[in-house]
């Protein structure tokens, strides 16, 4: 049984021109096992975000079958009461509420589900500790650095304890050094909670460093070009990036993506 299954899914956007549809994702299939870390790489504009939105139930698929735990995804609010989110999303921008302090931002998901203040703070504190921001509970987002804000964003997604975590280029706004540090942090956090992760990135080395499995996508419309297994032992250290096997894998993916570049 798979955690997440996509069978020939397509996503189309209606265009302003009458009766014209733009196919963003074309017949994509993949299977993701429970507790697997899957990274999607592909050229810009190929449709990665669209796939992630469809998984989150924010965007309908136009054909095919997309299931989480063998259940069809019908929308983000699935009508079950109480609603238990199976997935949460982390986006490129932290998108925190500037009028709430860190603790209230992080416990937002639980607040929506009607948890008592005490309970949600308890969980929020736990995940703030995990991302290393225990000292900043009472701070406001504008008082934090970009990297810290992104960690709050991550903690907010983790606090609802989703069985599926979706990350859309979460670290792309960070500088190279912070980014490497965050990759290591994410791995550490994930090894601790061990849920299923779908992660989108532009950086090949980030993909290899984090992934159990890499989906290499083609340019628009998006199709799966190759699926690459990565089985370096965990926990991986950043030194891995200098090893020859790592670089071989990097070249392999680079060659796959090279021909997809819009500039090619």
């Amino acid at each position: 049984m798979f955690k997440l299954q996509a069978q020939a899914i397509s996503i189309e956007y209606s265009q302003s021109v009458k009766n014209k549809f733009f196919t963003a994702v074309d017949q994509v299939s993949f299977n993701i096992k429970s507790s697997e870390f899957v990274v999607i790489v592909g050229p810009s504009g190929c449709g990665k975000t669209s796939i992630l939105n469809a998984i989150a139930g924010l965007l309908p698929i136009t054909s095919g079958k997309l299931t989480i735990d063998d259940k069809d995804i019908t929308g983000p609010g699935r009508g079950e009461q109480p609603f238990i989110p199976t997935c949460s999303m982390v986006f490129q921008s932290p998108a925190l509420m500037p009028w709430r302090n860190v603790l209230d931002n992080v416990s937002y998901g639980l607040e929506l589900q009607g948890y008592s203040r005490q309970k949600r703070y308890q969980k929020a504190e736990k995940y703030l500790h995990l991302v290393g921001l225990s000292k900043f509970q009472q701070s406001f987002p504008h008082q934090l650095s970009g990297g810290m804000q992104q960690r709050v964003n991550l903690a907010r997604a983790l606090t609802v304890e989703p069985s599926l975590l979706l990350l859309d280029e979460p670290f792309s706004a960070l500088d190279a050094l912070t980014r490497e540090y965050m990759q290591e942090e994410l791995q550490r956090i994930w090894l601790e909670i061990n849920n299923t992760v779908v992660y989108i990135t532009h950086l090949i080395d980030e993909a290899i460093f984090l992934a159990d499995q890499i989906l290499v996508m083609s340019a628009s419309p998006c199709t799966v070009k190759d699926i690459i297994k990565v089985d370096f032992p965990r926990p991986r250290s950043l030194d891995l990036k200098h090893q020859s096997e790592f670089n071989q894998l990097k070249n392999q993916i680079w060659n796959l993506l090279k021909t997809e570049s819009i500039f090619y």
């Binding site: 983000p76 997935c87 509420m97 929506l112």
Partner: protein, 263 residues
């Protein structure tokens, strides 16, 4: 300790030097004394520029002879107009910002009325509502409602779409998104709208009363102006200036309360 010239607190205007109170007070005193002096020496005809002592006397006379009633009438016109503008403008702005179709329906009217100088509607309003307080309430309302409405609408429309997605993922319903994201997110816009509204409302009251009225500060001023009573005119101007000043300070105070709601 070395004074940091560019400390963040100073840039944000949080720190006020105590000295700063005395400098404007001093300049004001100098101004008043020279004004009085120029008039006493009869360098300029007091009919045109009056003088502080004459204005003071006029003020006392006015307050003994029913000026308080005029102020009350103007205040009622102003506050009722503003009140209706707020209780209508904020919900309407929220609805129009949230539902695209509603916006499309009302957009031509809002744009046209927002662009028209409200005082141009005064003759019509007086025709409909008479020269009493109703026509003034209406003109204040029209002056205030659009800045509030348009700002709230913008606030609702510019809600962070990523934040919306995040809330939807957590299973938020429309009501929750409304109360936890849309409303708090538009507070700065509501305040910005209010700030515009406060000034426009004041213009509405005065112009309305100057055009046609039976009482009010503007009414007193229009009579005083027609009979060359410069001193009384100045009393009216000062009362209006003070009201504007107090209202602006009040809004600044409210704005500070919501400081951290801004980005």
């Amino acid at each position: 300790m070395k004074k940091n010239l560019f400390s963040l607190a100073q840039i944000n205007g949080f720190v006020k030097d105590k000295q700063n109170i005395f400098i404007p007070l001093f300049s004001l005193t100098i101004f008043l004394i020279s004004w009085e002096f120029i008039c006493n020496l009869e360098l300029i005809n007091p009919l045109f520029i009056s003088s502080p002592s004459r204005i003071f006397k006029a003020a006392i006379w006015l307050f003994k002879n029913g000026f308080l009633h005029d102020i009350k009438v103007s205040a009622i016109e102003y506050s009722l107009g503003l009140f209706f503008a707020i209780i209508l403008g904020i919900p309407a702005g929220i609805y129009l910002g949230w539902y695209k179709t509603l916006e499309l329906i009302f957009d031509p009217f809002i744009t046209a009325l927002y662009a028209t100088p409200r005082v141009a509607l005064l003759p019509l309003l007086i025709l409909w509502l008479g020269i009493g307080i109703n026509s003034k309430i209406a003109v204040v309302f029209l002056g205030c409602v659009f800045p509030i409405l348009v700002n709230v609408m913008t606030g609702i429309k510019t809600v962070d779409s990523t934040l919306l997605k995040c809330a939807r993922c957590f299973g938020a319903n429309d009501f929750q998104i409304f109360t936890t994201i849309a409303i708090p997110g538009s507070i700065p816009f509501i305040i910005a709208g209010m700030r515009l509204a406060v000034g426009r409302g004041l213009v509405g009251v005065v112009v309305g009363e100057l055009v046609a009225s039976s009482a009010g500060i503007g009414h007193m001023m229009s009579i005083a102006g027609a009979t060359f009573q410069t001193d009384k005119l100045f009393v009216g101007i000062i009362v209006l200036a003070l009201s504007g000043y107090i209202l602006t300070e009040l809004l600044k105070f409210i704005e500070k309360k919501f400081e951290r709601w801004r980005m």
